[in-house]
Amino acid sequence: MSRTGHLIRRLLATMVTIYVVVTLNFLLFRVLPGDAVSNLSRVPGGSPELSAALRRQFGLDQPLWEQYWIYLGRLLHGDLGVSFTTQEPVGDRLMVAFGNTLPLVAAGLVLALLLGLVTGTLAAWFRGGWVDRLSTSTAIAFYSVPTHFLGLLLILLLGNQLPTQGMHDEFLIDPTWAARTADLVRHMVLPVVTIALIVFGQYTLVVRSSMLETLGDDHVLTARALGAGPVRTLTKHVLPNAMLPITTLVALSLGGLIGGSILVETVFSWPGAGRAMYESVVQRDYPMLQGVFLVLTISVVTLNLLADLLSVRLDPRVAQ
């Protein structure tokens, strides 16, 4: 019962958050000086009549709440408006961009998680020794480096061996499927490594402290007293308990991961959502900027909900 109650509460909260974000997305852009029309009507021979006609066409002559209703209605139909720069529907451009971002972020996350679990567990196990000092110092060092700076450093170090720009080599002649995939993977290496290195430090530190916290629990002492060996204690009694904060951590780090991917895609000219966001800032393409922001935020919020439900599965006490 309490579990269903928790589920419903979390679902409602997520929907309210998404509604708040949607509204914020509307209001933030309405405080802009001027509107879309003041820019568009600046064509040679543009008259006040043209501006008025354009304003009518975009619905900007309506009162604010009327515009808000139109915006909400269009959004529900998946209509995110038209990009200023390419005149394509924002939704179509976003589909392509997010399709390109997903493998990058997913590969980065998995790599970071593996690295973080191994180094964090080792650090907690050899607590106070040189392994601990080495892995925590490395973790803090990578935690401290700005994402784009690390990307630039990697280009400097490995730019001769690996491609640093874009997703594909445009000069491959009639590539086979395998050659094309290999090319894509080669292009992915540097951005994925950058993302992974940026987040893994944080993971190491949390895995370490969560392991240490569990290592201090009474049940671990009991297990030791009953004769469980170190490896058995670690895998059977410590890791399962320590997994919970780690799930929460991954959920909380998603926002940072998305932020990191914006910088990484900018550095490596990866044609994904982050790069689209950067370009729309540079070109003042507000519908595009709104669209990317909305989809990024809604996906992070939804993934957070999923992670929360997962942590209830792992530990039902969370729901109470």
Binding site: A13, V16, T17, V20, N25, L28, F29, V31, L32, A124, W125, F126, R127, G128, G129, I140, A141, Y143, S144, V145, P146, T147, H148, F149, L152, L153, L156, G159, S209, L212, E213, L215, G216, D217, L221, R224, P230, T233, V238, L254, G255, G256, I258, G259, G260, I262, L263, T266, V267, M277, Y278, V281, L289, Q290, V292, F293, T297, V300, V301, N304
Partner: protein
Amino acid sequence: MTSIRSNPRAAAGLGVLGLLVLIALSAGWLAPYDPAAQVGQVFGRPSGSHLLGLDDGGHDVLSLLLYGTRPTLFIGAAAAVVAVLVGGCIGVVAGYFGGWIDGLLMRITDYAIVIPALPLGIVMAAVWGTSIGQLVLVISLLLWTSTARVVRAETASLKNRPYIRRIRGLGASHLRIIGRHLVPQLAPLLSAMAALTIALAIFTETALTFLGLGDPSTVTWGTMIRFAFQRTAMSQGAWWAFAPPGIAVSLVVMCCYWVSQSLEDTLNPRLRVAHLARRYFEVRGS
């Protein structure tokens, strides 16, 4: 305080941060060249007269770096102060009064905390503008949430301690209890959060600046990296144009992290106990 003195990392962190503040104050005096003047060839290599080389405009990188300390530290500190003040107030009020006030404030915090910071910062900066004041406002609006959460939890546990109850029984006003008895207890936590927030604020500033949302009229470490990237320092192999500011940012963030970590360790000594640390076995075994 004793733990900071006995903790070499925290001491080093505080020392480096203090040194950077001194550098910021005396930049005009330390810098060998005028950071705005062209004093050599574009992307000139590091040499005796230009220790860190020259950037895309032939400016001396060392002088830029020294002058850049000022706005970088200012933005970081100002944004952290605003963020910790806002977050602290919300946390204390929510934790102390509880009930529907707590519910409302924490609900708002929950909504704000899940919105990814950098995208929101990009949108706000793109819409509002990118002068230093606006940047500070944007960054602090992104970073208050974790302070609010942590402070609320701590306040909620403090307010039910017997001594606070007794003071309340003696007729102390809410304001007096919060101001005289709760805030001093919260001070170490607040300083730990402030140290961490400075690091995050400087981080966010470099990120926003890199994406073209910084103040173009000020030289910060963030703008140095941006211009190096944008003006082809990479293809020229001019690592000296972006490595010094990048390392400087990393150093500040690391120092802030160490300081905040040692403060947190003092608050949570439980982390020092472990029944399954390697060392524990050795002690046991001998």
